[in-house]
Symmetry: C2
Subunit: 576 residues, 2 copies
């Protein structure tokens, strides 16, 4: 028996770009057909991009996406295609269309709709109920969508019991640290338990706060990884599958999955083609790809997040306020790696509180990265503000107000450059600062994309060292890595005047923000109770700032965005 | 038979304030008991406040809310109490507890969880399945929560078939224009169809972008309104119900509701007390309250939204940038009516482009409202910015950049006053501007609460005239109402240099933003196609600004906040 050639198109779609996505899908169908693949699959909601959010509430958008599906269907000749789209059938469904012979042969509706974390699928979609098994060149293929595979009692059981030897799962699974291992474990379990080949076709690319990391996988019925797509890049993952082995294993071993015979009736069979490919095919040697360290993974996720936010929103350059500190240095390095040195502009905006060391560090960084630098002192505007406010502020003491004024002047300068030249401003605050509110709203928080918003300060250091080790000579000055963190908004200031040391703050924040743990429980882990309480109060007290922050790239299990929806008005302290 | 005395406590809770809410609930139980009510109900999620959002993902918060319920239960003596809380039973439920004899007698779990518009209840809660009928002094009372009543095939059918003559529905139904009529129609329909007294106990108060308008209602089995609570205020709504009439009507008329006998088994009966009240009670004369005009309603909703945002977030005063235009004038009038003149500070920040007429109008407004005014010219800072940027901007033309700089200086001045004196900044942009992006991010968009964010410009005018008619002499100067709208950021500027006239723009925006209608469909309503296309492009192009806007008070069917979740990165134009 000729092996079954399965292709997964791990492509980078753009939300709302129905025409662009359709063209790309057609090109990748051609690529898969050129390899004589039996079937090529695409990621979840391929045609609309993922997540389309409230776009799907526009009836015209849904109609246009169905028109686009017809364009793709016309291309599906000599190969079976599985593509994601929004179906309308007395309500909306997150759907996968099966295309063959130039036509839509059947449509599967997602059963399990995630409605937690960053997901809102129950806002849009109805729950699918039907089961589908395609018959492609004699091979039975079960079909489901993303979360369907994560649910232990999901459609795979019925599909495998209904005869499917290959399960195609089209996904849009966002990146977060550690997710790849979770996915692989889950796929191995499903494959072994159901004695089926499991093919997870992931999306790749950045969309607002999400980055999809690709790394599509094909796992055989014994739980071995047959192929894995590239990380953070488009890829065509192709594998030849010996279906005979799967059938043999089923004869010898009783599958552990339930096989209620009544349920088998509910499976709809879609016969797409009836003759296995007879010619000779170019050999393919599937790769299981590289295994990345956490730093490598996060670094590449951030680069892809920047690159796609910039390009998909039609920008060609970015501006970054460089302070001589580590956050802005890392952001600049990421931007250069995501784009190119000539697309990145550094802006140094010294004040009376800026040290000579900061200036030296900025100059080294800019030289190392090969980017252009513009220096604009904020002194004149700062003096002007102090004069303008002198009446109002008489008999008051200098406090954080004056610090915020400096930060806001810098924000306004960056925005003026953005407005005049069309550069996107990248803001540079890290997750630790954004969590406790150690940032100025409309000041250093200003920008279109907040690159490090989900990166804790301790990880900022790790990433900076990782980046420095990538090239023969370090790009981020060693002094920047060594100096005490400071906002330089008044004399002799350091972050630790107000905040606990970052190696204490970060694990507290992880427990409090990501883990939803109570103050008393965190203190019981070995932290000073009053410190934990203070951190909790700081986090709760600045929800209004976070609400007005730019989107940032999610890399942890709970980012400060769609992932965490706290009320601004909130009297709960957790210490009552 | 003694009439059944039903009390509805229409109270203003605060999200997260478990202690404060619990104290208030206990006080209102005492008030209802003093009137010898048989039963007193409270709004949905009374103990936590509504909506608690991701607070309920904190296990300690849920545990604390269950502790608070025990405190309330201890107060429930000599009266049956229905109160909303978050239940934990192998998962979270939006729940109503039945309290009597100082103990929790039973718990109902909400069946229908709204997950559209501003609602995310499927993110948090599992679906309830059980039915409950309480027996209170010989009267059978069905119990359900908010959306349960809106679903035509909701729990009321089973509860009424199971013998309930009174249905208590505890709600947190947010205000929007026209909602009161929808509610009343729905309640009448449910009451008549099920031959039951229907009691809708609504929440009152502001919570971030939502305002709950109260106006709880009791409708009899023939669809007549027996009582209605106050609008936008706390109220104890009490009515004496003749249950005999309901029972009679059921004898004579076949109820139109389905009564499948098998379903009756699934109703849990909770016997709370067994003896009707025997003494003499003070007479109550329930009122059906006033009917408000749209302007009255919206005006009061905005006042309550301001008042509660300010007080629940611990502020005592607000600062408003006054330009001489209608938006800031209306915002100031609302703030004065929501708070008091001495809690409102006007800040006038003239530039070279500010007309003498604007100054005169600001001075009249401030005099009419009796608020304090501070004038801070922005010229010095503006000159400073132009000097600082002169190198960068050489050989460029003056454009919107320079206008935005002025707006951002004003934003920074207001924020400096806020930082120094603890005043909350109210931003003043209207929905028309916020929809098309005719506003400066970090400039006039800066602030903690965006009062008019959901009020279209044409309605701003209506509200201003309404406010002027409220008092013997107008507070908003007639010249402000008459002049052409202008941002005064360059010479001889008017809004209509860029935007279509507001009486054309607003209906287009209503169709596009609230109605999700396609450009071609809107044009077919009689608008110039290129104008509609231009408006659509403007709306789509400034999602990044709206994402960073302060929360605003919802008054329409679709506000620019949780109600409308559009991707920032989005290539759909709707005109392809």
């Amino acid at each position: 028996m000729t092996p079954f050639r399965l292709a997964q198109a791990q492509i980078n779609c753009t939300v709302g770009d129905l025409i662009g996505n359709t063209e790309k899908i057609c090109q990748w169908i051609q690529r898969a057909r050129a390899l004589n693949a039996d079937l090529v699959s695409f990621p979840e909601l391929t045609i609309t991009g993922y997540p389309p959010e409230d776009l799907v509430l526009k009836p015209q958008f849904v109609a246009d996406n169905i028109d686009a599906l017809q364009v793709v269907a016309a291309e599906a000749k000599g190969i079976v295609v599985v593509v994601g789209f929004v179906d309308y059938a007395n309500g909306l469904y997150n759907a996968a269309a099966v295309l063959a012979h130039g036509k839509v042969q059947g449509v599967y509706h997602k059963h399990h709709l995630p409605n937690y974390g960053v997901f809102d699928e129950k806002r849009y979609f109805l729950t699918g109920r039907e089961q589908h098994v395609l018959v492609v060149n004699g091979v039975s293929v079960g079909l489901n969508i993303c979360e369907d595979m994560w649910a232990p009692r999901g459609p795979i059981r019925i599909q495998a019991s209904g005869g499917a030897t290959v399960i195609v799962n089209i996904s849009a699974s966002p990146y977060q640290i550690g997710k790849i291992d979770e996915r692989e474990r889950m796929l191995r379990t499903r494959a072994k338990r159901n004695l089926a080949i499991v093919a997870f076709n992931n999306l790749v690319g950045g969309q607002d706060e999400l980055v999809f990391d690709g790394r599509s996988m094909i796992v055989d019925h014994e739980g071995h990884l047959l192929a894995r797509g590239k990380a953070f890049e488009e890829d065509l993952v192709v594998a030849d599958i010996n279906i005979q082995d799967v059938l043999e294993s089923r004869k010898h071993k009783q599958s552990r999955s339930d096989r209620p015979s009544t349920r088998m009736q509910s499976v709809t069979r879609i016969v797409c083609s009836d003759k296995p490919y007879a010619g000779t095919r170019v050999k393919v040697s599937p790769s299981v790809g590289e295994t990345l360290t956490t730093c490598e993974e996060v670094y590449r996720a951030l680069c892809l997040g920047i690159r796609d936010y910039v390009s998909k929103n039609g920008f060609s350059s970015v501006a970054i306020g460089l302070s001589g500190g580590i956050d802005s240095a890392l952001t600049a390095a990421l931007a250069v790696d995501a784009l190119s040195p000539r697309q990145v502009l550094g802006v140094f905006m010294p004040s009376r509180h800026t040290s000579q060391a900061s200036r030296v560090d900025v100059e080294s960084l800019v030289r190392n990265l090969g980017i252009h630098l513009r220096t604009i002192s904020i002194e004149e505007a700062y003096t002007a503000f102090l004069n303008m406010l002198s009446d109002a502020f008489q008999e008051t003491k200098t406090d954080a107000t004056e610090e915020n004024i400096q930060a806001r002047i810098r924000g306004a300068v960056l925005m003026a450059l953005s407005n005049k030249f069309g550069w996107l401003v990248l803001s540079t605050g890290n997750k630790s600062e954004m969590s406790v509110g150690y940032a100025t709203l409309y000041g250093d928080m200003a920008g279109g994309l907040s690159v490090l918003k989900d990166v804790p300060k301790t990880m900022v250091y790790r990433l900076a060292r990782f980046r420095n080790a990538m090239t023969s000579s370090a790009v981020i000055p060693e002094h920047t890595l060594q100096r005490a963190p400071t906002a330089e908004l008044r004399a002799d200031q350091t972050d630790q005047d107000i905040l606990p040391p970052y190696d204490i703050l970060d694990p507290i924040l992880e427990a409090y923000v990501e883990g939803n743990q109570a103050v008393a429980k965190i203190a019981a882990l070995g932290f000073d109770a009053s410190t934990v309480e203070q951190v909790g109060r700081m986090v709760d007290g600045c929800e209004y700032k976070r609400r007005q922050a730019p989107v940032g790239i999610k890399i942890t299990s709970r980012a400060l965005g769609k992932d965490r929806r706290m009320p601004v008005t909130n009297r709960y302290t957790g210490t009552s």
